[in-house]
Amino acid sequence: MLIITLTVLATALHIGLCFAGAPLLLGLVNKLRAWLLGRRGPPLTQPYWHLVKLLRKSTLVPDTATDLFTFWPLGAFLAVTVATMLIPGFATGLLTAPAADYITVIGLFALARTATMLGGLETGFGFGGAGAAREALFGLFAEGALLVLLLAFALLAHSTSLDGIAATFRTAHIGISVSLGFALAAMLTVALTETGRIPTDNPSGHLELAMVHEAMVLEYSGRLLALLDYAGMLRLVAWMNLIGTIFLPFGMARAADILSWPGGLALWVVKLLVMAAVLSVFEVSRAKMRVFRVPEFLGAALLLGMLASVFLFVAARIGA
């Protein structure tokens, strides 16, 4: 009984923190980027105000759009939300753990991407279409890479559920192996693409011909745009959670024993901070690449993933 209540509590806490903190995390990243660029940058709470402002504004619908226009942002938002709920943050063994299969998560991200693409095609003008086409292209290699990576993890952890992977990686001493290095590199590549950061896409750039994600949401305004933006923030959190869960599982709390929560929470915040810092440093130090170089970028990630699983085999053979 107690355990159940604790699990429920932990899950609620996880969900609540993720949802509440998502804008903050984005604000943090923007702040750090600004600092690294030598500017003062917007306040940390800027994203919250942004959302509120959008909620207050009235929502426009292009006259050429169909009735499903309002549906796509909701779809994208819901998909990301569910993904965020599934991916463990500060603790393992959450209520959602049984459903939290890696492949399901990939599917949910694909679902979100699909909804965004359709939203981009909705109005029937050039930019949305171009953005959707490019997004579809990126999706190809991203999914391939993610699946190949999963193979590496599953072979190590003998499980494809995120919880299982995290648990195994935390307890069993896998150590720093070459394959995990490859896997991490590949994972980061895919994460950058999926969250629409530099070098594959520029979240702050609004040059029509270059943008991908922005192009698809170009026609959205008001609360629909708020939904989309909030979904973007959640996606960032979700990905950071994913990477944290798989690659930095140490010190994660167990939902069942309340005593391990504080440590877990603290470590989780630290992990997010570190990742945000790394992300902003990386973004500042790199320039956006041409659209048709992105597939090569992701293809490299795919190959890295395959290498990872192959090296695992070798490592298993040489007993390392």
């Binding site: 699909t114 109005t123 279409g129 171009a130 579809a136 391939g144 559920s161 008001g222």
Partner: protein, 547 residues
């Protein structure tokens, strides 16, 4: 009594044929309702499939199989004369491969023949390139049944023989070969599904992809059976069979819908459609359901099979040597890319066919579903829901089939729980709604969209200039540029045609010329033929008996 002289015809029903019968039934009903009721050839077609499924002896099996081919050939012929001959060729080829295979003792040769025959009929690479030509030709109901049903019957033959009748002689490489063919079909099928401009052709290509998925599952199961891996066999079979069920439900839905698009707009070329959701909302909604399945999106009917299939591949990769490891990780990559391609294809069909602005006045003036097709599509759509939401239940229903195919296989409960996801999504939706109502502003106001700085369209284009929105070709262009050129070449011709059919036709023409030369022979030359052969025979005789 009816049947082979002196032997008659034997029927026999078991779990496997029952399952495939269940796959077939709704499509048949739907196709009949959708307007094929009156056609005799259609019912002969159905009869052939039923006979093939219920066959208790080789004659009945081949009879039904070829009857199915013949009837569908006639239907294709009525639709479009061009692909009919190729289709007849493939159909008879599969018959010519199957008949020997049924009589040979259980051996690898028998399996190869079965795989060739059934694979050719199912559109398994490299013998697939007829399918995107032939399946779109007949009326929608028949296309639906061909894509959703006939292909399954071919797979049924493959399953029955590979798993049951030839089980005594099975080799690991059977599975590997099947997996390879399946992977190839997945890649080519999905890629072409993204590139094709014709709606029905794109759907047919996606059929090739799904046949590939099923073949991969079956191949893995064979491989597991041969290497005695019970769990893997179970999950692989689950994947294959569930994929067959799902595909048998959403593909006919899509084909019937495509037929309605054709009926309403007079074309199925995505470059002339657009904005149909406005004129045909019901069709749009049903197509959306089907396409969610085709794109293997979560909460759709197509996701659970992919999910299981990925698990199966991962499970297979854990076993075997370094080559198997490399091979299976490559397979996983191919499946992932294939899934993403299928997703892109689905997005393309929805986004360019049903959303955005019409690209032609026909598309703008389209009227919604007729009654019959509506009923058919609603039926299929309703049947899609349980596959999408309670796949676990279906898998339990299928367990006897799986035990029939792989007696030692044991199956695990499905870890993909769509209902849970729905509940979570419900919570989130409630929260979002609350926030909206609490702090947000209600109401939507229409405003002209910014058309990217293009000039005002002429008055006779009520929906603006079609050329200012992305075309189907344009949407596929990045994929074509990155993958298409590599796999299909610039001309977008299927490699199977380039490397298989074209050379064959060349040989055939050469032989025809030879035959013509013989026919042109004068009387003297004909006498000379006779004479030479006679002398040859006599020589054979003399030497044969003298020596």
């Amino acid at each position: 009594m009816f049947g082979l002289p002196g032997q008659g015809m034997h029927l026999h029903l078991d779990a496997l044929s029952l399952l495939f019968g269940c796959i077939l039934l709704p499509q048949v009903v739907a196709a009949a309702v959708a307007g094929m009721r009156a056609s005799v050839a259609f019912w002969v077609f159905v009869l052939g499939m039923a006979l093939a499924l219920l066959a208790g002896d080789q004659f009945t099996l081949i009879f039904g199989f070829e009857l199915m081919s013949a009837a569908s050939w006639l239907l294709v012929l009525q639709g479009d004369r061009k692909p009919a001959t190729l289709y007849a060729g493939i159909a008879i080829f599969s018959g010519a491969c199957l008949i020997p295979a049924l009589f040979l003792p259980a051996s690898s040769l028998a399996f190869v023949l079965i795989a060739l025959g059934a694979g050719a009929k199912a559109g398994l690479a490299p013998l697939h390139s007829w399918l995107p030509r032939a399946h779109p030709a007949p009326p929608a109901g028949v296309s639906a049944l061909m894509s959703g049903g006939m292909v399954k019957v071919a797979l049924y033959v493959l399953i029955r023989y590979a798993f049951i009748n030839l089980a005594s002689a099975q080799q690991p490489w059977w599975g590997e070969a099947l997996v390879a063919a399946g992977a190839l079909s997945v890649l080519i099928g999905a890629l072409r599904a993204v590139l094709e401009v014709e709606l029905k052709t794109a759907l047919a290509c996606s059929t090739v992809e799904h046949v590939g998925l099923i073949a991969v599952g079956l191949g893995l199961a064979l491989y597991a059976k041969a290497s005695g891996d019970a769990a893997l066999a179970g999950v692989a079979l689950q994947a294959a069979l569930l994929c067959a069920v799902a595909h048998g439900l959403f593909k006919p839905l899509l084909f019937i819908g495509a037929g309605e698009v054709k009926h309403a707009t007079g074309t199925t070329s995505l470059n002339w459609l657009g904005g149909l959701m406005r004129g045909m909302p019901r069709l749009g909604a049903l197509m959306l359901l089907g396409l969610v399945g085709m794109g293997a999106l979560p909460l759709g009917p197509g996701f659970a099979p992919e999910f299981l299939l990925f698990h199966a591949v991962i499970g297979a990769a854990a076993t075997g040597g370094i080559l198997a490891r490399i091979g299976f990780s490559a397979l996983l990559a191919v499946l992932g890319i294939g899934a993403a391609l299928a997703l892109a294809a689905a997005v393309r069909i929805i986004g360019l066919g049903f959303l955005g602005r019409p690209r032609s006045l026909h598309a703008a003036a389209a009227e919604d579903l007729r009654r019959g097709p509506l009923v058919a599509m609603v039926l299929l759509g309703a049947l899609n829901v349980p596959v999408a939401l309670v796949p676990g239940l279906l898998l339990q229903l299928m367990s006897p089939v799986i035990l029939l195919l792989a007696p030692q296989a044991h199956t695990l409960p499905l870890t993909y729980a769509p209902l849970t996801l729905l509940i979570l999504a419900g919570f989130a939706a409630l929260a979002a709604g609350f926030v909206q109502t609490r702090w947000g502003v209600r109401g939507l106001q229409e405003a002209p969209a910014w058309n990217g700085g293009f000039g005002r369209p002429p008055a006779w284009l009520p929906f603006g200039d079609p050329h200012t929105q992305v075309s189907a070709t344009g949407f596929a262009e990045p994929v074509m540029r990155v993958m298409g050129k590599g796999l299909l070449g610039v001309s977008k011709t299927d490699p199977a045609e380039r490397f298989l059919f074209v050379p064959l036709f060349r040989v055939q023409t050469r032989l025809v010329r030879l035959a013509e030369r013989v026919r042109r022979a004068t009387i003297r030359e004909r006498l000379a033929f006779v004479f030479t052969v006679l002398v040859v025979f006599l020589l054979v005789l003399g030497l044969g008996e003298g020596g």
